[in-house]
Symmetry: C2
Subunit: 153 residues, 2 copies
């Protein structure tokens, strides 16, 4: 029985997950597999790019966020997944050696119009560095099972 | 000297990259590292979810797309990266054994208002299966170096 259902999310609620240390080795390994651009692979090449030095692939940052929210609350919830996400912004580079945390803000909760056993929760996710500076921000709506299926009048 | 600069992109142009076979092993390995939800890890557990069977993490699909466009054109271009992306929609599950291709459509090209040596290209990216069904779609704007920096009148 999962701990969190749709009824447990309230707009305005903020939760923080982490920290997690991001190493140079994992940044380079991820880039070699999925995003082999010089700015994610090699310090010398990266210094000549807009990043001004080695930084994680933006996709890597998103994947780390996914893992941290999975461990943080998703795996202990009635989550039914998400249809996608919106407005992903890579604001600042994620540098090797950074301890990241995830700030999750509940923006909106609404019942599903078609499925009484399901509800929707819109979140803002922020990846923060040690100085609470936001490196990446995105919004996404997830589907959760309800503890009490809606009964229509 | 990269082959593609900002001037080489034209609205309406369509390119296809791939195919690339996506195996069960890589789907499970990615999920174990970044998105350990049952629907991405285990056939029996996945059959009870909305996916109706094992399917790749949506983030995995995005990362495969990134790798395929990197090999397809980004690494042979003057790409300066992207500030993020928009409207990612995971429309259908990516199943083990699927040969995916990427369809890239140029939506818009415009000069940078602040940097004469740079231009912006807005793309739509679609992940297609063998039947040309779209599994995932997203849009994103990338920055490219110009072959000829703009000269202001």
């Amino acid at each position: 029985m999962p701990k969190l259902h749709w009824e447990d999310f309230q707009p305005g609620t903020v939760a923080i997950y982490g920290p997690r240390l991001v190493t140079r080795e994992e940044i380079v390994a991820f880039a070699a597999e999925f995003d082999p651009q010089p700015m994610h692979l090699d310090e010398a090449a990266a210094s000549a790019t807009m990043l001004g030095g080695l930084g994680a692939s933006g996709w890597h940052t998103c994947c780390l966020l996914m893992r941290m929210i999975a461990d943080g609350f998703v795996l202990d919830s009635s989550s039914m997944g998400a249809p996608g996400f919106d407005e992903v912004r890579w604001l600042k580079p994620l540098r090797p050696g950074t301890n990241i945390r995830i700030r999750v803000t509940v923006l909106e909760c609404r019942p599903s119009s078609s499925r009484p056993e399901m509800g929707l929760v819109k979140f803002r996710y922020e990846v923060l560095d040690e100085a609470e500076s936001c490196l990446t921000v995105m919004t996404s709506t997830s589907m959760f099972g309800r503890r009490q299926p809606e009964t229509r009048a």
